[in-house]
């Protein structure tokens, strides 16, 4: 202690960090002092501290240097000085990864861990475990077992935690320590009990049944340690999640009983666990929420923070359950801790009713400038959900968002606001004008290129359809004058869209675009030239195809196709239709509806990486028999053709090519005493279809997925596209030893009946979003138009009818026409897509609700007469 105190004094005198500007080589040079006899503990301690400091600063030390220093350090074992010895333990732990032959200290550490000095024993165990490798584990096993059940808590804890670390390398040895760990769980010390439970769980982690027993055992006999309780709650909630169990599970009863524990930590953990569970009803939540409510008025800021943060999360899923806490949350708005206040307000916004919005918004704005970006984002997310909930309040909310846009803030924060405004504009047509105006103002002074281009794109899409499109052009053209190349290019595209859509503005747009042809940047000039030429043609079809609706193929697919084309020079021109279409990400809208719910899912979709279809294309190209079928047109979602949890678990994916369908069966063998060979799925084809090839999966061992393919030729008659296929799994069974997987030599044939696979119209159609449906509708023209009226008597609402139509046809709803404004009895649905073979297909369905059900007038337009016929009959 004395030397430490003195060191502190020196530090104060020196001012600042005494270890600043340490030179690695000179420190290692100094480490040679360790070799001197007799040892000067104070001096050596100081040098060792320096060594530890440089290692922890991230300085990399070479193996030879480190080994030399390490061996010099081993000589310090001569000294009995407690401070120096404990520094040596630290040194060993730090250097064990960089020096060689660290095993040299094993016996010395073993002596210390079994010695009399309790102060040395714990650290010695930790150091020992860091130098021990696999082969040596056996020799220290006995001492570790003794240490785990030692009566000194520090020693026992150190041994238990070290065992956990050792377990990462060699589970087998650690498994033998179960009995000792069991004994340690009964310890009176809170930490030992916690660590012992942790080790027990780690050992049994892979065995679900054993974990179940563990929890039920310890939930009955009372543990002393609150930490152990928290761990037990976490294990229990994980079990519930894995089993998909509801509140009737005994695990849930245990967690609920923890709500009445005397330790606050345990109560919070239990409440948190209940709130996080997936299948909970409002009734299950009530006790947890009331506990959190109590915490809201706790004098401890940490508890208040934890409670309000958890409530904030619940509010997204179960706003009603949190309403009970509104009064307590109101009190927290004025909390001195700004983080607590922000979370309280946003929670209130989520649970509150329309009338309280104004008041709360006012309160937020009073301290918006005092909180960090991270919490500002929380506020924005709350506003986003408010916009969806109370469309009529858009005025207040929009103004508030606009104000936030003007304030200082980082990129993430601004992006969140812009996203929020965009979503609101799309959801709520009334808010469109105001929102666009705010965005226009924002891009006047926006330092983020990404956001500026995004907004310009939106303006190009939405602006022309507003009553006064001309006012946006000024904002857009300003960008051309003031911004960098990327933004200028985006602005040029936006102007072109105005020109293509609004005839009265065409002249002025061409003039503006012609000015852009003098730009310094290539991309901007190219775009301007292209658009000017297209616009001057003044043909609706051209503008629709090249300006309003853009490229609809998958970018990755296009790149691959072009690369292929350049590799094999061909007389024929490059055919755009051979490129796979971009698939519409279906999940996108769902994700947007629940902000904050699945933030991890969103970045994954933002990537332009290979889509699922591109992956399938690669995969199929690997199979030689399927390589020359042409371009993959569409892959369906995987569909189960067996019940899950049967002997064999099989999923089917349908791949549509221009003349063939490939059925891909992903099979998993769930029997550990069988090896399947030559697995095929035999199909009874529907009329007109012809099975041409089976590609067997040669071997299907236990629990390793395998794939078999069946190739079917489509009927020559173009209107015959649907059918039902009976499937049977055929294979050769060989019994095998469940342990070793060694199969018998002889096998026998067997079969297994699967569910029928259906080929529907949707399998022949790829969803394509037409951003401007009217333009595309005109572009295709009325040549192959078919019209019919149906009465859908089984549907009781328009929403239901739309859902079914979209599903049958497999087309993409355009212009958000799949959303029906509330309280309307008639609606028009626009669907867009491409039929197999590259024929555009557009559907307009006028729906009306009357007493007998839904009546639909269906109009189909397509570039091919057969396609129109197929689609028109799809619903019937």
């Amino acid at each position: 202690m004395l030397s430490l105190k003195r060191d502190k004094k020196e530090e104060e005198e020196g001012g600042g960090n005494p270890f600043n500007n340490l030179e690695k080589s000179s420190v290692l040079q100094e480490a040679r002092t360790f070799n001197e006899t007799p040892i000067n503990p104070r001096k050596c301690g100081h040098i060792l501290t320096k060594v530890l400091y440089i290692i922890n600063q991230g300085e990399s030390i070479g193996t030879t240097e480190a080994t030399e220093a390490f061996f010099a350090m081993t000589k310090l074992f001569q000294s009995k000085d407690p401070i120096l010895r404990r520094l040596v333990y630290l040194g060993i732990k730090e250097m064990s990864k960089i020096a060689q032959d660290v095993i040299i200290v094993t016996s010395s550490l073993m002596k210390d861990m079994t010695g009399k000095e309790d102060q040395f024993r714990g650290p010695a165990i930790r150091a020992l475990c860091s130098v021990t490798d696999h082969s040596m584990l056996q020799s220290i096993e006995r001492y570790m077992k003794q240490a785990i059940v030692d009566k000194v808590p520090g020693v026992s804890s150190a041994a238990l935690v070290s065992a956990l670390h050792l377990g990462k390398g060699s589970q087998e040895v650690i498994k033998r320590w179960v009995n000792e760990a069991q004994e340690a769980v009964n310890s009176d010390n809170v930490m030992v009990q916690f660590h012992a439970l942790g080790l027990l769980y780690y050992i049994r982690k892979t065995d679900k049944l054993a974990v179940n027993k563990l929890v039920s055992k310890f939930s009955k006999h009372t543990l002393k340690s609150p930490y152990a309780y928290c761990l037990l709650i976490r294990i229990a909630s994980k079990l519930i999640e894995e089993e998909d169990a509801g509140s009737d599970s005994p695990m849930f009863d245990f967690i609920e009983s923890c709500l009445r524990h005397k330790s606050e930590m345990v109560i919070y953990e239990a409440a948190h666990a209940i709130v996080q569970l997936k299948n909970t009803t409002a009734k299950d939540l009530a006790p947890a929420v009331s506990v959190l409510q109590l915490f809201c008025s706790s004098p401890k800021p940490t508890l208040r923070f934890a409670a309000v943060r958890t409530l904030n999360k619940v509010a997204i899923k179960h706003p009603a359950a949190v309403t009970a806490c509104n009064l307590d949350l109101e009190n927290l708005i004025t909390d001195v801790n700004r983080s607590i206040a922000t979370l309280a307000i946003t929670t209130l916004l989520k649970t509150g009713n329309e009338s309280s919005v104004d008041r709360l918004m006012k309160q937020i704005s009073s301290f918006m400038s005092e909180i960090s970006d991270e919490f500002k984002i929380v506020v924005v997310q709350a506003i986003r959900s408010l916009c969806a909930k109370f469309p009529r309040k858009h005025n207040v909310l929009m103004t508030f968002l606009a104000q936030m846009l003007r304030d200082e803030g980082g990129f993430d924060y601004k992006k969140e606001i812009v996203d929020c405004i965009i979503v609101t504009i799309e959801e709520n047509p009334e808010a469109k004008e105001a929102g666009l105006a705010h965005l226009c103002e924002f891009i006047e002074d926006c330092e983020h290129t990404v956001l500026a281009t995004k907004i310009l794109h939106l303006l190009g899409k939405e602006g022309p359809r507003t009553p006064t499109p001309s006012k946006y052009i000024r904002f857009i053209y300003n960008r051309v004058i003031l911004e960098n190349a990327a933004v200028r290019a985006a602005a040029v595209s936006a102007i072109a869209k105005f020109g293509a859509h609004c005839e009265d503005l065409l002249e002025s747009c061409i003039v503006l675009l012609e000015r852009c042809q003098l730009d310094t940047d290539d991309e901007v000039r190219d775009r301007a030239t292209f658009y000017v030429n297209v616009l001057k043609q003044q043909q609706k079809a051209l503008s629709s195809a090249f300006i309003l609706n853009g490229l609809q193929v998958s970018v990755v697919g296009l790149e691959r196709a072009l690369h292929q084309y350049t590799l094999e020079p061909n007389e024929a021109e490059f055919d755009m239709k051979s490129v796979p279409l971009a698939t519409q990400p279906l999940a996108e809208q769902k994700v947007r509806d629940v902000p904050g719910e699945a933030p991890s899912a969103r970045p994954a979709q933002d990537k332009v990486a290979a889509s699922r279809q591109d992956v399938y294309q690669e995969q199929l190209a690997q199979v030689p028999e399927l390589a020359n079928l042409g371009t993959l047109f569409k892959s369906s979602q995987p569909m189960e053709v067996t019940e899950s949890e049967t002997e064999y678990y099989i999923q089917c994916v349908k791949h549509t090519f221009s003349n063939y369908i490939v059925f891909q069966f992903d099979c998993t063998n769930t029997l550990n005493d069988q090896l399947l060979e030559k697995v095929t799925v035999e199909m009874e084809p529907a009329e007109g279809f012809e099975v041409t090839k089976y590609i067997a999966c040669q071997s299907l061992p236990y629990n390793k997925p395998g794939t078999t393919y069946t190739l079917v030729r489509l009927p020559a008659e173009p209107t015959q596209v649907t059918g039902t296929f009976a499937c049977t799994l055929k294979f050769l069974v060989k019994d095998c030893d469940p342990q070793t997987g060694e199969p018998d030599d002889e096998g026998y044939d067997d079969e297994y009946v699967l569910e029928d696979v259906e080929v529907t119209v949707a399998d022949h159609v790829q969803r394509v979003m037409k951003p401007n449906f009217a333009a595309s509708w005109e572009e295709v023209g009325p040549e192959n138009e078919l019209e019919d009226t149906y009465s859908l008597s089984t549907m009781s609402t328009i929403e239901e009818a739309i859902k079914n139509i979209v599903q049958y046809m497999g087309l993409q709803p355009c212009e958000r026409s799949d959303k029906v404004p509330e309280g309307k009895s008639s609606h028009t649905l626009y669907l867009g897509g491409v039929f197999r073979g590259g024929h555009d297909a557009l559907v307009r369905a006028k729906l009306a609700l009357d007493s007998s059900g839904v009546t639909m007038q269906l109009t189909v337009r397509s570039t091919d007469p057969n396609v129109s016929e197929v689609l028109a009959t799809a619903v019937a």
């Binding site: 006899t37 061996f71 081993t74 200290v105 094993t106 010395s108 040596m136």
Partner: protein
């Protein structure tokens, strides 16, 4: 060393400290020998194979010894050399009942003598022909012959038969080492 230390030494209260390295093949009895010198309350009742090394301290009549008890197992023998530099004396333990591995012990000894750190140093080496109680053990003379000690001329050495379990012969050997080391230390202090 401070004034008080020198004074204490002069008065004979504090003994001079020396480092010795204890080496030899595995299972020759190194740790058992060191264990014998420890005060009774610190004695280990059970000796297990050493992994790496152990530091032990004990006192003879005139000196305080710090003994580095090295592991004799094959895979750790190359680690001995890390400690050659700072040692004042070496205790080499031979299992006199293990005639078969005597040549291995000789090899290790030759390697040790040839090592750059020790080659030109006149440090005393004490040999214990241990396990003299065992039935098939050879005499210390035979032992020194098998180890080829007669050719070792540039360093003072001594061999004595010992039994580490009872302690026979151990004190005799350490007394010899003490005398040798005292000579060396005196010479050193005279030079200063």
């Amino acid at each position: 060393m401070g004034f008080f230390d020198s004074l204490a030494q002069w008065l004979g209260v504090k003994k001079k400290e020396v480092n010795v390295l204890v080496v030899g093949l595995d299972n020759s009895g190194k740790s058992t020998i060191i264990n014998h010198f420890k005060p009774p309350e610190l004695k280990n009742h059970e000796i297990v194979p050493t992994v790496g090394f152990n530091v032990e301290k004990f006192k003879s009549k005139a000196l305080a010894f710090t003994a580095l008890d090295m592991s004799g197992q094959g895979r750790y023998r190359n680690l001995w050399e890390q400690y050659y530099k700072e040692c004042d004396g070496i205790i080499f333990v031979i299992d006199s009942s293990d005639k078969l591995r005597m040549v291995v012990a000789k090899d290790e000894l030759d390697l040790l003598l040839q090592h750059a750190e020790l080659k030109d140093k006149r440090i005393p080496i004490l040999f214990f022909a241990n396990k003299m109680d065992a039935r098939e053990s050879v005499s210390s003379v035979k032992c020194s012959h098998l180890m080829g000690l007669e050719t070792l001329r540039d360093k003072p050495w001594h061999i004595c038969a010992s039994n580490a379990l009872t302690g026979d012969g151990l004190h005799e050997g350490v007394d010899w080492l003490t005398d040798q080391l005292k000579d060396v230390l005196e010479k050193k202090s005279r030079k200063k």
